[in-house]
Amino acid sequence: MSPRKLVPIGVFAAFMAAFPWIVAPFESVSHYTDVMVFAGIFCLVTIGLSLLMGFAGQISLAQAAFFGIGAYVSAILTGRFGWNPWAAMPAGAVVCAAVAWIVGVPALRLKGHYLAMATLGFGVIVHIILNEEVEWTGGPSGMVDIPGLSIAGTPLLSETAWYYLVWTFVAAALLFSYHVLHSRVGRALRAIHEEEKAAEAMGVPVASYKVQVFVYSAVLASLAGSLYTHYVTFLTPSSFDLMWSIRFVLMVVVGGMQSLWGALLGTVFLTFVGNEWLQVFADFEVLVYGAILLLVVLWVPQGLVVWMQERLRLRRAADLSRSE
């Protein structure tokens, strides 16, 4: 990474680290730390989805299902079997990876519309299972009294502590994804997005890379689900339905599919829209999401972050040519 790129990232990191202290003194926004915990959890999901959609060019409408599998595996292992949450989390990730692999191998041979429908169908099936297996999942009324997390014997109680934990996960996921994108694999993914047959001809193992990204995105979603479980300590299947899968796609698309920062910003923005600003108009929520998604795809298909970057670059170029 060039030093010029590091400066804004450093400023961003400093802002994120100071965020709970910035909002704490102001009564009306002090609960933003709590909203940011949710935003961070969703960011884990959308970073994976951004890799899958923006870079490998494959759509998934099943991310809420993987999020749900992670959440329920954690909840069941800790609540029913008394596992340590830190052991249940990787267990959930392993289950998710296995499920994603089993579904992904045949599904990712499909393209475009077929892949979208296949992941959609899979997501709905998982949702039905969460509703029907009452003995394990509590059915539609859900599960309560799920234990919280603790680090080295100290239970994580404050929102600020959760904020740092969740965003540490996000930072790690970002860093890892960044390195994946700037490696051999990342270049291969972009080649697949550009033209699958050409990539195949150049010796890129297209099928296996696509499945690997799919599994990676499922694992991230599963970790997010585990964190979510232990943060809210109760679960109902309605948090993992089709609408949530569409929300995750929306978060990635609004920010910009082909940019990890886009996924990050889109997620934070839409979490605030959903959790904060639209609470008063709960009935409008679905309508507003549809409208935002439609407007963005029709008018700024590259996403807001990429659009702003392009505008900045244009202005800089214009300034340069004027000063010459």
């Binding site: 959609m53 060019g57 759509i59 409408l61 045949p106 599904a107 041979r109 499909l110 393209k111 475009g112 519309h113 077929y114 892949l115 979208a116 429908m117 296949a118 959609l120 169908g121 899979f122 709905v124 099936i125 039905i128 299972i129 509703n131 029907e132 089709l242 609408m243 569409i246 796609v249 698309v253 009935d283 409008f284 929520e285 679905v286 309508l287 507003v288 999401y289 549809g290 409208a291 998604l293 439609l294 795809v297 029709l298 298909p301």
Partner: protein
């Protein structure tokens, strides 16, 4: 329960299965019409069914129209929605990638769903049956007259479509667009008009299915996605683009679902059609009646 023997129960499930199956077949035909002309899968297809049912409730219950005008008005209103989708959304995005096109029709579908929730709220609505409310007892099987209406409506639509595509100039022009849009344009077929027609036609068919099924199952704002998904299952199973295949596959899905609800578990009945959809996509994406070469040529 002794009076209802095994045979009667079997017949009862079969009848229920054929009724919902006919609806899935209509949804599948809706997908096929748009797909054939544009190679787009319209993710809002299920919402057309939902809107059809709710508009019929509006015209019949709120405005006090008799049933037939209410039916026609609901179909016209949803056809208008299809027109808006094509004219203001799809046409604007005609150069979009497949990924964007998927997201666009999904966005439109949640727009319709959100709109319906605002207008009609979250409660399910009932609509009286087209004729008579009691059920006819036949060989120990209770038949709802509305089930017969559903079959009659579906049968009429399939018959009309067959005549439309085989005899009328517009129908033949639409098939030509499906076959080869460039060649169709060269011989003077206004491809754009055909695309526009396909969206209206497919919305109208979805709406008719919605009106017909509402007296049996009620209708609420969030029914669209599942209906759409199952209809798509029927479309894939029958071979995408094939009308006859869609009909047979729709009925098969309906039967499978109904027997699962009767003999296995009613909670998992919705999953049956989806599992069949996944199996079809994974192992036989060209469908039961499509050819492998034709499937290879399709753009997704």
């Amino acid at each position: 329960m002794d009076s209802i023997g095994f045979g009667a129960a079997w017949l009862q499930y079969a009848l229920g299965g054929i009724t919902v199956g006919a609806i899935y077949a209509l949804v599948a035909i809706g997908y096929n019409i748009i797909y054939n002309v544009t190679e787009i899968i319209n993710f809002a297809q299920g919402e057309f069914v939902m809107l059809g049912g709710l508009f019929a409730v509006f015209f019949h219950e709120t405005c006090g129209f008799p049933m037939l005008p209410a039916f026609l008005a609901a179909v016209a209103a949803v056809a208008l929605t299809g027109l808006i989708l094509e004219r203001y959304v799809i046409r604007k995005a005609r150069h979009a990638t497949v990924l964007s096109m998927i997201i666009i029709t999904i966005a439109f579908s949640i727009l319709l769903k959100g709109g319906a929730m605002l207008v009609w709220g979250r409660d399910p609505y009932r609509l009286p049956a087209f004729s008579g409310s009691g059920s006819i007892l036949w060989n120990g099987v209770a038949i709802q007259p509305q089930a017969l209406w559903v079959l009659a409506v579906s049968g009429t639509i399939v018959a009309c479509l067959t005549i439309f595509f085989q005899r009328s100039v517009y129908g033949k022009a639409m098939l030509a667009c499906a076959d080869n849009p460039a060649a169709a344009r060269l011989v003077g077929i206004p491809v754009r008009t055909m695309i526009f027609l396909s969206f209206m036609l497919s919305a109208a068919i979805g709406a008719a299915a919605g009106v017909a099924i509402t007296p049996i199952t009620l209708m609420e704002y969030d029914r669209g996605a599942l209906l759409g998904l199952k209809g798509f299952g029927a479309a894939v199973l029958g071979g995408l683009g094939q009308f006859f295949g869609a009909l047979v596959a729709g009925l098969l899905l309906g039967l499978a679902e109904s027997f699962c609800a009767g003999y296995v578990s009613s909670g998992y009945k919705d999953a049956v059609a989806l599992v069949l959809l996944l199996l079809a996509l994974f192992f036989k994406p060209e469908g039961l009646f499509g050819s492998k070469e034709a499937a290879g040529l399709k753009r997704f």
